[in-house]
Subunit: 371 residues, 2 copies
């Protein structure tokens, strides 16, 4: 066995996206201690940068030391208790995973279903809230990584609040690429991932909890079933009040990388990043149309950073992706769940959302499909 030298890849799948050299350089800086005062000061900057990114003043805004699926689990295990009812909107694979989390907490899950590729229908969510008074939370995916559909998070959070339910929002693929307005929406628990529009490596899951969510956490009857994800304990390490209580060893170098990635994002500016994602997306739509390829998601609900392309009749799904990877060094994503074999997923996320990447992937697709 030898040192692993990864091949050159243009990552245009559903994430990870390409990590810029500045972030890789930060990642490789010497490891220091997780209680070192210099490191602790950097943690404070990471929190402040995440607050700016989530557009929130929430005190509990920090990166969970594990990938996005652990961020999802952190939201459910901290806010939901056995016997609670949670309404989960499922319009893709990640809504299904939310349901799995609710069940494993011992709560009852009420499903609101929409077709894969469609946004969550707020009327159905509202009907479910009315039919289930006392529901603990309404959970939905803002940016469905499996389908490319964007749901109206502002409206869904408002509906939850009007019915006395918490909102739990998956924006793993949203944050940095489209508006995520935690305070303006009044969202209660939002989680994201480092490896999508933030362009850091995978392995961290930024989360933000509202004061209302913190109250629920404080008033729990039972302890949080996960020790590792118990945000009461995690906060004692991340907050400055009365010194840092050791909880687990933070992933030091990954936090260097997230810090640098957030600096880059805010050097560009959040709004500028959103606009760039949108412009690149429109270029992709035009280029795909020019070679006769259609998108799955209706125009009004498309995520600019994740584009699901219908695989034309008779085309070899896996063979096409294999040729893109092998001959062009381009990774695109396969369909997931019920969309397997039916769509490709083209991600234009963070650092990767650039006109030349659109030209490269559509050029390569056009060659492989001979269009």
């Amino acid at each position: 066995m030898h040192s692993f030298i990864p091949p050159d890849r243009l990552l245009l799948g559903p994430g990870p996206s390409n990590v810029p050299p500045r972030v890789l350089a930060a990642l490789a800086r010497p490891t220091i201690g997780h209680l070192d005062p210099r490191f602790v000061a950097m943690m404070d900057e990471v929190k402040a940068l995440l607050q700016r990114t989530f557009r929130t003043r929430n005190r509990l805004t920090l990166p969970i030391s594990a990938p996005g699926s652990a961020g999802m689990e952190a939201c459910f295990v901290n806010l939901v208790e056995p016997g609670d009812t949670v309404i989960v909107c499922r319009n893709g694979v990640f809504g299904g995973r939310m349901r799995e989390n609710v069940i494993r907490v011992g709560a009852e899950c009420v499903l609101v279903e929409d077709a894969f590729g469609q946004p969550v229908d707020p009327a159905k969510a509202e009907a479910a809230l009315k039919a289930n008074p006392g529901a603990k939370a309404l959970a939905f995916v803002h940016a469905e990584t499996s389908t490319g559909a964007r749901s109206d998070a502002e409206l869904l959070c408002r509906l939850a609040r009007e019915h006395g339910a918490l909102s739990i929002v998956d924006s793993v693929t949203g944050l940095g690429g489209i508006p995520v307005e935690v305070d303006a929406w009044g969202a209660d628990a939002v989680y994201s991932g480092s490896q999508k529009c933030l362009s850091a490596p995978p392995g961290l899951s930024p989360v933000s909890f509202s004061e209302r969510a913190l109250d629920v956490l404080r008033q729990r009857r039972a302890p949080v079933q996960s020790w590792f994800l118990d945000l009461g304990l995690v906060m004692a390490y991340w907050s400055g009040d009365g010194g840092r209580a050791y909880h687990h060893t933070a992933p030091i170098n990954m936090l260097y990388a997230l810090h640098e990635a957030l600096l880059i994002l805010h050097e560009e500016g959040l709004e500028a990043s959103w606009a760039r994602h949108q412009a690149t997306h429109l270029r992709l739509c035009d280029a795909l149309a020019a070679i006769g390829l259609d998108l799955l998601v209706p125009e009004h609900a498309r995520l600019p950073q994740l584009n699901t392309v219908r695989i034309p009749e008779g085309v070899d799904d896996a063979g096409t992706r294999r040729r893109l990877l092998g001959e062009f060094g381009i990774e695109i994503g396969a369909g997931l769940g019920e969309l397997a074999g039916k769509v490709w997923r083209i991600g234009l996320m963070g650092h990767g959302s650039r006109a030349e990447h659109v030209d490269r992937v559509v050029g390569a697709l056009s060659t492989v499909l001979d269009r």
Copy 2:
């Protein structure tokens, strides 16, 4: 805010330890996709390297995508169900954390207590096994990071097996620095961490489960309460059978780093690494004795990689550590739990276990203490 440039530190605390340049270079290589065939081939190498490191042929041998405390939790949530009885040996902070995990799974915890700084007393563990027939598991800490005590893992695993209980072994600080013989011991579930004697950055937790543990996992009545840590699902991504099922996005760059760190370990050889840790430890013991400092742990139970030094009467604990860090760039660890203020912890782990580090830290201590 600016890019974070960490200060120069010699990390001689309880972990993280200094990460060698080759591992940092691996960490910084370009991120590729978690389903990329080249990455998947590297994962197979990581598994094989971990099997060699744990001295096991266990199929379920892989790194959990989160720090050691998540590795601990993975063992308990996968193997223990509500209503089970688990015997936990507590001779330090991490035994206490095991108890916390058992409770949060909804199982009954029987404690076997030994003083902080002492190894687990096998006679007490055996008595507890006899008094609790049908106990699901005996859990203990092989290498207590909070005290520097080493327990007789081989004997404790045998006692567990003789009484029909699984053994759950914390070797976060052990692996790579002292013998961990998963197959020879017949250990059922062992977890470790990347940032101690493996000299990779913190953020990954290698685990290994025996076939007996896999049987228990397969025969569970209830689903694993954690979706993220459900090893049935995690294995479907890590094992080659029938293709890789997407579970969560693996922390790609951290796995590059672990791969490189394991290569370095096996270039030196496991036995050579153990011998080097022992030799460096003996040098430290001599040097500390020469300036009149005592170790907490009795000689026969000392971990060579983690040395707990009694703080002399009248010496300012925090002030001493602050001076070591500020004036000498050396981090040592504070006491944890009931040992806070009573001991320092000097780690000589992995890449950090070198004669010159002993000389530097004892020289600095001698200057600060004016001995």
